[in-house]
């Protein structure tokens, strides 16, 4: 009974997965059906493009920076939300919004907030005399600020996902251990860093691994906020693959760029399976 489902998924995930590798070593073109093996020629021409190395580096910066921020924010949020208190449901609704609203739509909201002329952030900064009225920060127009902006917006979107996973993990920690530690005189931070966080490590692992996959392979926030600009300075591997392979119609080179996502996926998948099998043993 699972055969139809497996065939469906194999046809639309397995087949294109294999094709992606074949495209990267072939001469596929839009509109022609021919295929010839060309070895590593596509790889060579991708490596000659400085934008590729920039995108590779940016992918790591984007992923690591946003996941660190997500992890810190999610831990604080989860600790704040774990016990019931009046107003928790209403608060949760507000916190959930960035995750459930379509990312593309949330990002366009940010594009307006970070607008070059009408940015509300700049309006406040100018009133507080933290920014110059005549040359306010161009959030999406200067390379460093643009990178910072896409990282923060992506963090904004991903925060809830990690928080909820952590919350699920916290409820599975037996309450009596931290409580006993409190009776023994351990302070809040000592309990947090020496008991609660170590006990939550497996679940933090899960949250981080999912976060890495969803960040390393995503291009939505970047596509909407900066289109990889200014001058390719916020381009990441997925967005570069899109511009090259889909908009630029160079299927082979686009496939080569996408292929560089695979090592990361393999590492994450392997670590996830390890986490899962450990949880079963204990």
């Amino acid at each position: 009974m699972f055969l139809p489902a497996m065939l469906y998924v194999a046809a639309l995930v397995g087949v294109p997965f294999v094709l992606a590798f074949l495209y990267s070593v072939g001469d596929v073109k839009v509109g022609s059906r021919g295929y010839h093996f060309v070895g590593l020629a596509n790889f060579r021409s991708v490596f000659q493009n400085p934008a590729f190395f920039r995108a590779l580096e940016n992918s790591f910066i984007f992923t690591i920076a946003s996941q660190v921020l997500v992890l810190v924010g999610a831990t604080i949020l989860a600790l704040g939300l774990k016990d019931a208190f009046p107003g928790r449901r209403a608060l949760r609704f507000l916190i959930v919004l960035p995750w459930v609203a379509p990312v593309s739509i949330g990002s366009i909201g940010w594009k307006w907030i970070l607008d070059s002329l009408y940015s509300v952030i700049n309006w406040v900064l100018i009133r507080l005399h933290l920014a110059n009225q005549f040359s306010p920060p161009m959030w999406l127009g200067e390379p460093k600020l643009a990178m910072l902006s896409v990282i923060l917006v992506h963090t904004w979107h991903m925060l809830l996902f990690a928080t909820v996973i952590l919350l699920a993990g916290m409820t599975s920690i037996p309450r009596d251990i931290p409580e006993a530690a409190e009776v023994d005189g351990a302070g809040f931070f000592r309990r947090l860093f020496q008991i609660e966080i170590p006990m939550m490590l497996p679940i933090i692992n899960v949250a981080v691994l999912f976060g890495i996959v969803f960040t390393f392979t995503d291009m939505t926030v970047i596509y909407i906020l900066t289109r990889g600009g200014p001058y390719d300075t916020t381009q990441v591997l997925p967005s570069l693959a899109f511009f090259t392979g889909i908009l630029g119609s160079d299927l082979a080179e686009g496939a080569v760029i996408s292929i560089f996502l695979v090592p990361m996926l393999v590492v994450v998948a392997w670590m996830m399976l390890r986490t899962a099998s450990r949880a079963e043993v204990t």
């Binding site: 489902a5 609203a101 949330g106 907030i113 509300v120 996408s258």
Partner: protein, 283 residues
């Protein structure tokens, strides 16, 4: 001593509230901003002398009216609804029997296939979109809703199988055996007993698949090239912008209208949705 404890508790509650309130404001701010922008008159919106937080002229419905009358917004909503229903139907049709079979498959194999199903969920659209765009074109589905209706189940099915497996496993086997002793076939047992018991799981799958159609961006952007065939998730951020002109009022109204209903819906099912992610790793 007791007084000290109470004071400490009160201080802790205050810190908690301050922290959570800060987060809530930062996280919900863009939506508040959409709300303000959507109802502000154009002159007020673009006057830099005015405080952007307040209405200096009376609020207006002009942007909302423009959105519904002059743009393809309604069309996009319709497309999203249609594609959503189709994806939900395909997902249920394939995922429910598969999940049931896997839940009842004993031994290492059931588990291995379960893990395999789960791993396919990690393969991202940005790796597959180039080959898929050719497959979609070969099937004659380019630039039509058919393309996403075909492709979206490739990730809703694995996720739904994973989620439903948990539900089906929790049904005691004896219950099914008893039903079959009473003369029901396995198929009848499945339809008359298993499905009604797992209704909340199935409902979660429905909501998940439907909202995914609203949220997905990369595939819809890749496969569909004309504005009139788009879903809300791509139509609003890409096609409401004409040239370099942004109709911020209407754009923010569209954002608000397309995110609030799904936020409310999702909020109800959030816990179960997350259980789908953690069920394999947390026991």
């Amino acid at each position: 001593m007791i007084g000290g404890l109470r004071a400490r508790r009160r201080a802790r509650a205050a810190v908690r509230w301050a922290t959570l309130a800060t987060f809530a404001v930062a996280l919900a701010f863009p939506f508040y901003w959409m709300l303000i922008t959507a109802f502000k008159r154009t002159g007020d919106l673009y006057d830099l002398k005015n405080s952007p937080f307040l209405f200096h002229e009376a609020p207006t419905l002009e942007h909302v009216r423009f959105l519904f009358r002059e743009t393809l917004f309604l069309r996009w909503l319709g497309n999203t609804g249609l594609a959503g229903l189709a994806v939900v139907a395909i997902t249920l049709l394939f995922a429910t029997p598969a999940a049931y079979a896997l839940a009842r498959l004993t031994g290492r194999w059931g588990e291995r296939i379960g893990i395999g199903v789960f791993l396919t969920y990690l393969v991202p659209p940005t790796l597959l979109f180039i080959p898929l765009s050719r497959i979609v074109a070969r099937l004659g589905l380019q630039d039509s809703l058919g393309s996403i209706i075909l492709v979206y189940p490739s990730f809703t099915i694995p996720f739904s199988i994973w989620l439903l497996m948990g539900f089906f496993k929790s049904i005691p086997r004896e219950l099914e055996d008893a039903a079959m002793v009473d003369g029901l076939s396995r198929f009848q047992t499945f339809v008359q007993l298993v499905i009604p018991i797992s209704l909340s799981g199935i409902l979660t799958v429905v909501i998940f698949s439907f909202t995914l159609v609203m949220q997905e961006f990369v595939y819809a952007l890749t496969f569909i090239s004309s504005a009139s065939h788009q879903t809300v998730g791509v139509g609003v951020p890409i096609y409401l912008v004409r040239g370099d002109v942004y109709y911020w009022g209407s754009l923010m109204a569209a954002c608000l209208i397309s995110s609030l209903p799904i936020a409310i819906l999702y909020n109800v099912f959030l816990d179960r949705f997350i259980a789908g992610f953690t069920v394999g790793s947390v026991k």
